[in-house]
Symmetry: C2
Subunit: 691 residues, 2 copies
Amino acid sequence: MLDALYKPKSVAIIGASTKELSIGNRIIKNLLDFGFKGSVYPINPKADEVRGIRAYNSILDVSSEIDLAHVIIPNKFVPQAVEDCGKKGVKVAIINSAGFKEIGGEGILLEEQVVKKAKEYNVRVFGPNCQGIINTNPNVRAYCNFTFTKPETGCISIIAQSGGVGEVINQRFSELDVGIRMYASNGNACDISIPEIIRYWSDDEQTRVIVVHVENLSNPKEFMEAAKETAVKKPILGMKTGRTKEGAKAVSSHTGGLAKIDIATELIFKKCGIVTFRDQEELCQAAVAFASQPIPKGKRVGIITNTGGPAIIATDELVEAGLEIPQLSNNAIKILKEKLYSAASVNNPIDVLATGGGEHFRAALDVLMNEPQIDSIFINFVTPFFVDTDMISQEIVEENKAHKKPIICNLMTDKRQWTKTINILKNGGVPCYSLPETAARALIAMTRYNDLKAREIGEVQIFNDVDREKARRIIKESKKEGGEFLPAEKVNNLLAAYNIPIAKWGLVNNSKEVLKEARKIGFPVVVKVDTKSIVHKSDVGGIALNLEEKEVESTVKDMERKFTAEKPSFFVQEFLSGGKELIIGAKAEKDLGHLILFGIGGIYVEILKDVAFGITPITALEAKEMLSSIKSYSLLSGFRGEKGVDQEKLVEILQRVSQLVTELPMVQEIDLNPIIAYENRVVVVDARIRI
Amino acid sequence: MLDALYKPKSVAIIGASTKELSIGNRIIKNLLDFGFKGSVYPINPKADEVRGIRAYNSILDVSSEIDLAHVIIPNKFVPQAVEDCGKKGVKVAIINSAGFKEIGGEGILLEEQVVKKAKEYNVRVFGPNCQGIINTNPNVRAYCNFTFTKPETGCISIIAQSGGVGEVINQRFSELDVGIRMYASNGNACDISIPEIIRYWSDDEQTRVIVVHVENLSNPKEFMEAAKETAVKKPILGMKTGRTKEGAKAVSSHTGGLAKIDIATELIFKKCGIVTFRDQEELCQAAVAFASQPIPKGKRVGIITNTGGPAIIATDELVEAGLEIPQLSNNAIKILKEKLYSAASVNNPIDVLATGGGEHFRAALDVLMNEPQIDSIFINFVTPFFVDTDMISQEIVEENKAHKKPIICNLMTDKRQWTKTINILKNGGVPCYSLPETAARALIAMTRYNDLKAREIGEVQIFNDVDREKARRIIKESKKEGGEFLPAEKVNNLLAAYNIPIAKWGLVNNSKEVLKEARKIGFPVVVKVDTKSIVHKSDVGGIALNLEEKEVESTVKDMERKFTAEKPSFFVQEFLSGGKELIIGAKAEKDLGHLILFGIGGIYVEILKDVAFGITPITALEAKEMLSSIKSYSLLSGFRGEKGVDQEKLVEILQRVSQLVTELPMVQEIDLNPIIAYENRVVVVDARIRI
C-alpha cells in the first residue's frame, strides 16, 4: 500500500540544495547519516553535486526508477514538479514546501491543482506543508524528514498532525532510550491521510503500538473505521490537543451548546477503542510498557515491593483508577511463608523486605504468575547496597521471558551507580520507571486498553416498527414551508413515527373545542396557544399549566381575548407531574453523523453539566453506558428507598432517537426537553427539531 | 537549633561494623565518599579500626567532643547508648535502629525509655527507625544516612515521613541533574519532628524550596504553625500519600462520614499555604523552577514559541488551570512588528517562527519583561538546525539574569546533539523541560504559590454577643444526664446562645397546649412528639408537617393516642417551605480542632457529594471560599433569574458554628441539617449535637 513511501528503494530530492542550513540539503544529510539503504538523487539544475552525490537537472534526467520524491521548492512550482514526478513514474511525492491550504486564498487553489495533477499522473502525495516520514527498519533506514532527532529501532509508530508535537514525542522516546518503528507527520494531508497510515501500520507486524496525535479530524468517519479495525489488533494511544478554546465557551442547556467538537474527538477515540491521553508524558511512558509487555486480561494487580512508602503511592494510584489489589489464595500465602523471610508480608502487596534477594523476588513472581486472580504484576524495586540487585534483575528478566502476564517495574535507584542492574532489566525487556505513579499509570493504560478491547458494544438495533415514509414526508413538507424549526404538531408526528412516546396531545382550531379535546386526553391538562408569531409563549400568557376540568373554559377565554388578533389554534396536552425530568438531544456533526446527549434535566444540566454523550448510531450498550456514566445516575437507579425510573425504556428511546437522526440526516438538531420518567413510564413532554 | 544535627563537626557511629554490607559500615563509607568535613569516630568494642579509621570501645573513650552519634545497635541496647551519649555530651543521636513504636508492644515501651533517657541526659533524638540526614553544604558535606544516592549541591531541602519516598524524590532530583540542600527522614520522630526541621530550614538562607512528604500528621497543630510561618518566606511543596483506604469508605450525608482525615491533611496544607501535589513527578519538576526562578506576581503568562503544536498544548494546560494569556499592548505589538519577521505572530503567544534567531527571542523577551500585564514567561524553544540555537540560549540567559519575572523553558531538542545549547541554559539557571505540559505545570505551581501567599485570609472574627456561660451550662447539664446526643430543646438553646438563627419553636407538656403554642409561632407548623424512647419519630407517625390551624387539634389527638404510654411532650415548630436546603456541620478531629463542612442539602450531599470543608477556627474569607467552592454555587448566587440566598448570613453562621466548636471543644459533632435559606433569611430547621 504505502510501501513506496515507507520502503523506498530510491529517493529524489527536488530542490536539493548545496546550502548546509537549508532543508533541501538537510534531508540528504539525514538520509545519509541515518544509513539509508536505497539511492539518493539530488535534483538541482544549478549544481553538479550535493553533499558529494551527483545532482540532476531534472527528475526526468534520472535514468533509474524513483519510488519517492521530496519536493522542496517554492509553492507555485509544485504542481509542475508533481507532473514531472508522474512522468518519471515516481510513486509518492512528499511535499515539504509550505504555502498551500494553510495560508488560505491562493494556497487553497494551488493545493487543488496539486491534487488534480497527482491524480492525473497517478502520484500519491504526502503533505504538503509537512515534515515527512521515518522508517527505522534496518533494511530501509529511511529518514525522509528534515527534523533532527534520530530514533533507535523499536516497535512504536508515531503519527502526528502537528509536526512539532510529533517531533517532541519522538524526542521523548529518544530520551527514554526507547526505539520507534515508523514516523509520519503529513501536514495538510491532501491525499495520504492519517487513517490510511494507521491501516498501513495495522498490517506492519513490527509495529506493536501506534501513537496518534490529532488537532482536528478532517475525515472522522474514515478515521473511525481505520482506527476501529486496527485497535482490535494492536493498541492505539491517542491524544487530542487544542481543548481550551472550546472549553471556554459557556455551556447551555441546549444540545448545540453542550456538544463540542472536542467532545466528538474524545467520543470517536472511545468508540474506536483508542486509549486516550491528555498528557504526552503519560502517553510516552505507557507506550514503553505496551511496546514490550503482553496486555493484562483484567484489572487485578499483584504488587511485589521491597520498600513501604512507594508501594502506598502505587496502590493509591492503581486503586483510584479502578484497578484492584486482590487477596492471594491460601496456597499462595503458604508458599510465600515458606520462601520469604519471616518478617515479610505474604499477602498482596507482597513485601519481600529490603533484605529480600533474587530468590525472594523470584518466589513472589512465581506465585503471582500462577495465581489465577492476578492479571498483571507491579514491582517496586529499590536497590539497597546490601543485596545482590543484579541477581534480582536477572530473576525478574527470567520471569518476563514467558510473557505470561505483564510486568511493570518501578526501579528506584541511582542510575549512575546501579548501571548493571538497570541494563539487565532493560535488555531483558522489562519496562522500568523512576517513580511509582509513572509506573502505575502505564499499567493503568494497559488495563484500559484491555477494557476497551473486551467491551462488546454489540450491533446497532434497527427498529422496524417505525414509519420512515411518514417521517420523510413530514420533513419534506416542512422544508417546503421554510423555517428552521418544525412546528409542534409536526414534531409530535415525527416522534410518533419513530414510536418515541409523547405526552397525549391534540390540536384544535378554536377555543370551543379545547374542553372536548381536554376531556379526551384526561385532566389535568396544559393548554398552549399555537401561533407562529409568538415565540416565547409563556412570557405573554400563552401557556396554562395544570388545568382541571372546571378551569379550562375560563382560561381559554382569557387566552383568546389576549391573542384575538392572531386567531390562534390551541395545543392541548396531558399535564404530567412528579417523575424525573430528563433530556435527550442530538446534533449533526460535520462529516461524522450526530452527537447524541443524555442528561438529567433542569439544574443538573444548567449548573452541574451532568450529561453524557455518544456518537450515532449507538448500540444498546452504549445507551446504557450513557445512562450510567452521569454523576447523578443514582437518581435514575433509585436511592434511599426512592424509586428509580424505567431505564430500559430510556435506553430504547435513546436508540430510537439515534435511529431517527441516522435515517434522517437532514435533522440538524433534536431536543427532547423535558422528558418525564417514572418507574413504569417515560414520556416526552416538549421537543424541538431543527432541519 | 539543629546545627549539631546538620552541621556536626564530629560524628560517632555506635555500632560501626567491619562488614562491608552492613549499615554500620555503610554510613562511614557514605561520610567519607561524600567528603565529610568533620571527624568520624567508629565505636566498636571488637575492632581496632573500621574502614581505616581508628575504632573505640565506647563513645566514652573518645577524648574529643562529639556533636552527633549514629546508633545502629539492637533495640534493647539503645537506651543505654543514649545514656552514654548524654554522658559524653553528644548533642544529637540519630537512631537508625528499628524495633520501637512501629512494632507495637515492647517497642513502644522501649521508645518511651529512649525519650526519657534523652531528656534526662539532654540529648536530642532523631528517629528511631529512620534513615538520617544529608547536608550538601560544601563546608559540611554530611551524609549521615545509609542510603546511596549522592545529591549535587542545590537549594531544595527534602523532608519525608517515608524514607522510601524521600529517597525516590532524592533520586528523581539526581536524575534531573538538580541539586539539593538538606535532607531528612526521621522515621518514628520521637523527638526531633517534621515541624522543627521545617522551622530550621525556614531560617536556612540557602534553602529556597522545601519539599515535604507526609503519610499522617502526628502533631497537626505544631505542623500548621511551623508551615504557616515558613510558607510566607519560602515555598513549601507538599505531598500526602495513603489516600485510597479512606477514599474507599462510603460517603454519607452526615458530617462524620464526609469528613475524612485525608481531607484534613489537604485542608491543613491549604491553610498553611503549602503548594499541594498528588504526584511526585509534578512536585519534583515544579521544585526545579521554584529553585531558580522568582515567584510570578500573578497569573498572566506571556508565551514565546518557535513552533505551533506544542504551544497549543502549553496553552491548553495553562488556561485549564486558570492562568491567562493576555493580549499585548499596542506599543508591544508595534515593537514586535519592527523586530520580528513579517510572518511572525506579534501577539500573545508570540510566534517568532522556526527561523527566528537569538535577536528575535531577545526582542520578544524584552517586550514581555516590560509589559505590565505579564507576570511570567513561558518559552517554547525547539532547536531547528538552521538557526544558531546557542545564541538563542545565550539571549534567554541574559534576560534571566535580571530575575525580574520567572522564565520557564520547554526545550524541545535532541539532548545528544544540542549539548551546548542545553548547557548554556542550564548553567544560566533557566529551568528547562522536555514537554510543554511538564513546563506548564511547573509554572502553574509557582502561580498557585503566589495565590496562596497573596490570599489574605484575615483574622478570625469573635462574636461577643454569644452567651458562653449559658452554652457551657447546657453542655455540663447534658453530660450529667448522660447520653451522647443533646435533646432537641438543649440543642436549640445552645444554638440560640451562639445567636445561630433557628426556626421559631416551643415545647409544651401536653396536647392541650399545642394549639396555643402554634398560634404564638404562626401557621403552618410542624409538631413532633418529644420522648426519649422514640428515635425515628417519622417512622412511627411522631411528626406532622405543614399543619394549618384547623388541622392541629385532631392531629395532636391522634399522636397522643399513639404515644399515650410514653406521656410525650410536644415540640412545635414553624413550618418553612420554599427556600434552599443547606447543611452545615462540624466534627472534632483529634489533635487538630474541628473540621467544618458546608453543602447544599438533600440530593447534592447524598448523590453528588457537593460539599466544602474547612478547619476551625475559620475567617470570613474562608467561610466565603467554602460557599463559592461548591460546584452548585450558582444555586446560592442565583441563576437564570432565580434569586440567590443571603450569603452574608450564611458566612456569619459558618463563623458562629466555628466559634461554637472552638470555644466548646467537647462538642464532638454538630449537624445543622437542614438549614433553609431564602433571599433575606437563613434559618436552622433541624440540628443534632453530639458531645
